[in-house]
């Protein structure tokens, strides 16, 4: 294979020559715009401390469950893909496994990184594993491959991280105070482990939370106060959003006494699974109330069965590739929250889904009426070319281009960020080019719209 896919100027663009030529001009309009990443999982300390990445396996394989999961499916035990297995050995396994990724989104991101970040051929193979391991390890030791240099090279303007409510945000503070660093690295308030009473550390989390941040309040009242205080702390450190990974999109307004009873039952360890669901639904309502008050954009990510394979979870922990989506219902579930806050001034609520069926059926209709509701971009499993085209096709005819969040990379793989945003821009260009080719929008208008969806939408929706 001699052609390069990762750097082909027409990669991901539609095959029809007329449509492709429109797509090219649209893409050119946004190709050099800075990257805005309002939700992701990069560690702020990595940027702040600017420590070199150790080796290609630690950079691209062991921490990325998008990657390890498919190698695992091919029969490789996860043990062999752990940091302890030896970086070079992991890298070899990975190179052998690369053909599995053909046609996948991960394959596209990986190949693009090899070529554009490391100057390697896009198709590594078992034969070249050792050589590429050495070449990449050497590169990673160069000053130009330090996180801050890459941050600049990648043209990142805003990068949001995902943080524990009790995090002191020292790295974020240091970066903001550092005159030599020009990007914005923003924290995101992510309180799942403080709201989900079934979380293994919920009890101790809540105890620490109240102790640390309740202004002396106790019990359920102190808990709410502490959450409000920590949100404020995040706002003061630049946070623009609060993110919620919930089982379902259920929301519920309990009266204070009932909420308090549930809270105390949970603290005494006697809550049931039904209690868990009710309390989480109620706390989503509370989080919306707080967002209305403190201005944090509220994002909801429901519908994933976390840690589906218990033996793997026990051996390797969470985020090891077996979170599996299931069907969700937003229309009835989100209604209690929207009754009270759906038209609240400046409230922004971004609804994500892993269940594509709700895009046309529920999210576009909701976002096409409620000023607060935005349709979250295709996320996790759906952040791929065809899925992103299906998304646009599903929502646009009802909600137009003004009601979606803009691209969300949601990644912990720092070096994949440019490839992901590049793919998204190519798909936006492809979709708009089709509408132009079908005489559904004018080419001039498409030029405005691509800037809107790539650049203005995330700024507007995430209040950047």
């Amino acid at each position: 294979m001699t052609e390069s896919l990762a750097t082909h100027p027409d990669r991901l663009l539609p095959a029809d020559p007329g449509t492709r030529s429109v797509a090219r001009t649209l893409l050119a309009r946004v190709q050099d715009l800075p990257i805005i990443s309002p939700h992701g999982h990069v560690d702020a300390a990595v940027i702040e401390q600017n420590t070199p990445f150790p080796d290609p396996a630690a950079l691209l394989v062991t921490p990325d469950h998008y990657v390890t999961r498919l190698i695992h499916a091919s029969g490789v035990p996860l043990e062999q893909l752990q940091p302890g297995a030896g970086a070079r050995e992991v890298w070899r396994l990975f190179c052998e496994s690369l053909p599995l990724f053909d046609g996948t989104a991960s394959g596209y991101w990986l190949r693009t990184q090899f070529e554009t970040v490391f100057g390697l051929p896009g198709d590594l193979s078992a034969d070249t594993a050792d050589a590429t391991f050495d070449a990449m390890t050497a590169k990673l030791a160069e000053p130009g491959f330090r996180p801050r240099e890459l941050f600049k090279d990648f043209n990142i303007e805003v990068l949001a991280t995902t943080d524990d409510p009790l995090d002191n945000l020292a790295s974020h503070r240091a970066l903001a105070a550092d005159p030599s660093f020009h990007g914005r690295v923003l924290p995101t308030f992510r309180p799942d482990a403080y709201l989900n009473i079934a979380h293994p550390s919920w009890g101790t989390n809540v105890e620490r939370l109240i102790e640390t941040a309740s202004d002396g309040g106790t019990g359920y009242r102190g808990y709410l106060t502490a959450l409000e205080n920590r949100r404020r702390y995040f706002v003061e450190h630049g946070a623009v959003s609060a993110d919620h990974g919930v089982r379902t999109p259920a929301t519920l307004k309990l009266d204070a006494a009932e909420a308090e009873r549930l809270f105390e039952r949970a603290r005494s360890g006697q809550a049931t699974a039904a209690d868990r669901d009710v309390f989480e639904a109620h706390m989503m309502y509370q989080m919306a109330r707080m967002s209305v008050e403190d201005g944090l954009v509220m994002t909801i990510h429901p519908g994933s069965y976390r840690n589906h394979h218990q033996p793997t979870f026990e051996a390797f922990g969470a985020d090891t590739g077996h979170d599996i989506p299931f069907a969700v219902d937003y229309t009835e579930a989100i209604r209690p929250l929207l009754q009270d806050f759906g038209t609240a001034k400046d409230f922004h609520l971004v609804l994500f889904t892993l269940d594509e069926t709700v895009f046309s059926r529920e999210l576009a209709p909701l976002a096409g009426f409620y000023p607060s509701v935005y349709i979250g971009a295709p996320w996790w499993f759906l952040d791929a070319p065809d899925a992103m085209l299906r998304f646009r096709s599903a929502i646009t005819e009802t909600a137009g281009f003004s009601r979606s969040s803009g691209f969300i990379d949601d990644t912990r793989a720092f070096c994949s960020i440019p490839a992901r945003h590049d793919a998204s821009r190519r798909i936006e260009a492809s979709f708009l080019a089709r509408l132009v080719a079908e005489h559904r929008i004018s080419e001039d208008r498409a030029h405005e719209l691509i800037v809107d969806v790539v650049d203005s939408s995330p700024r507007r929706v995430f209040k950047l």
Copy 2:
């Protein structure tokens, strides 16, 4: 922007040149066929009395929740989009908001109306709002813009309205008796407010119904007799169908005693939400029975959470843009009805959905076996180019072209009717052209099929 989208001869046709050229010849075959609209919400009195439309806001904005909803989502309070807000002011807001509609079905219909009905540029803007308001107001005062003239210009052959069971159908009668009017304006029996015991006026509706039309019968028996009588009255006035907006597609055969008990419980104000569902399901069964007897085509529209935002409902009433779809299950729900009537002679049952997933999974398989079942065309949120293509792709491989209802515009926006049917014909041509280009059907056969889906299907399915 100088090119006109709304009048471009290739608008909505596929980009691939070979496929487009087939689509053009298919479209030419049906472009001038008369419009058959077997389900919609135009008021018969508007046609009968032939009163001029007052102004563009009253014509295109205030009554159309497809339009007001997206402007509301952009942050404009609904107050400012009410008739009371001043027609010119509403029109200005609307013109400012037009860019929101790019890529939506409503945007296409609006632009087409501006150009083809009013001879204006398709892209109105805030700058030209006053001028277009005046120009359109002037046009609307011209004799050529009276409803009956437009009816003729639009080449409408059949227009069905949606009517209360106790409506005296005077306008329909007058139009049928008027030798100077050549169209058919047919009533549709729509008994939702008489079948849904949770409807706010169910009690008084039923009282009036029994009083007026039960031939002296009382209670549940009188209620059924009165419904039968009113259906007969509609048939005598040209009705071809009875339409049912239900929460779910559930159907159920209760024995008479149990139905009577439920009915009386509801009349005494003691029915529960579960009673509501059971009674509605039972009445769907009864409606099917009556359709088998009196020949009215039965159409079912389930799966919309009506009036999702209670505060908006309280302030502005129903049909104000926040009916939100949810998932439906037809296979089990419709079974009780189909057990007894699925193969009944001349029974026609048209099943609509807002949940696209049932097209390939349930509706095509049902309509591909039961002679009574027809697949309702994409409706509301789905009556748009991409969604209509997804519909054809989802149903055709199982059910072919003979089992769907033909296009349904379902509109209360009279001037949008030609644009909607035009869009539908272009999409049918596009879909068939792709099958021709992929050598899946012959071009000759495609020419027959496009006439069948555009013209013969609605006549056959709605017994016109």
Copy 3:
């Protein structure tokens, strides 16, 4: 109509000329590969005894509920499509009804058979019904049209049948022992009627099973032993898989005592509908355990409401065209089974669905983690060009090309096998060609992948 669709070299290939030209070369790569059919419903005795097919109606119409269902939907009573109605009369009705099949998968298969198997024009019609009946009847009497000759002409290498657990597999044994027969005809263990306690003959089936195969064991223990023994018998006769048509994908591990209580309750005729579901779920768990032990690939086909129209079932029996799909949930349902066997060595579990929504949402994520899980190819209602393209688009970006089963024809219509596999190969070529045209995979790699999906996948997944 003079052009031939069924033999057009570009049939089913994409319209875009550049993409089509890639698709052609990909198709050429696999067009002559042998047919591997790991799941279907041809009767082994037909091959073994090599009896001529009697007439075209018995070959193509009366036994094929794909065909009779759509003719029934058009208003023809099923009585007129039964063998008893007279072969020539059935054939006439069928020829008149052929236009109904335009655009359907069945239409494609039928037309292809007429042309490529019988040398007739693809478009039969009412006018030519008698002539084609005679011509085909004459052909079917020729030696070249005997099942074994066709088997060879069709280039079938492996054909799996579907068999009752107590079948003695005499035909399979005879074929395997016959040196003049070069194909492989493999039995498939299909125990539905022994696991579903609501099956009308479950009681007598289980009695016979225990009597025949339990090694003297009784009750629930004897039942499990007998199932294990019969599976072993199938393995000894070449079976590679056990197939399960279940209501839902539910799985459950009961303790032995509880399972025994349920089993006995069922035998005494006192089981409830809930018992049925629980027992079936438990037996799926047991079947997986046995598959881990004996190596049979486990395939699951859930989500069909069998015999939806009771009056038709009573008059004409099962498999008469009214099995209707409904929504399924795999993620939670399959979890108990996967907890214990999801990573078991050499366990292969192929998950089929009639509900397309689970492809991207559940099956690709599951198969992209669990080494045991494979995504079943689009089956029944979905084994058609557009649906197969939607399938590839839905799964590939998450699971790549290595995690799906390969094409499954699942047919009882022997002469349609080549047309079905041909259609599938054309669609695989079309999908891969688009990825090449969009620079997502290289053309060289696409040539490897098409061989993998057409030939290597079914061999690997079904352990052939």
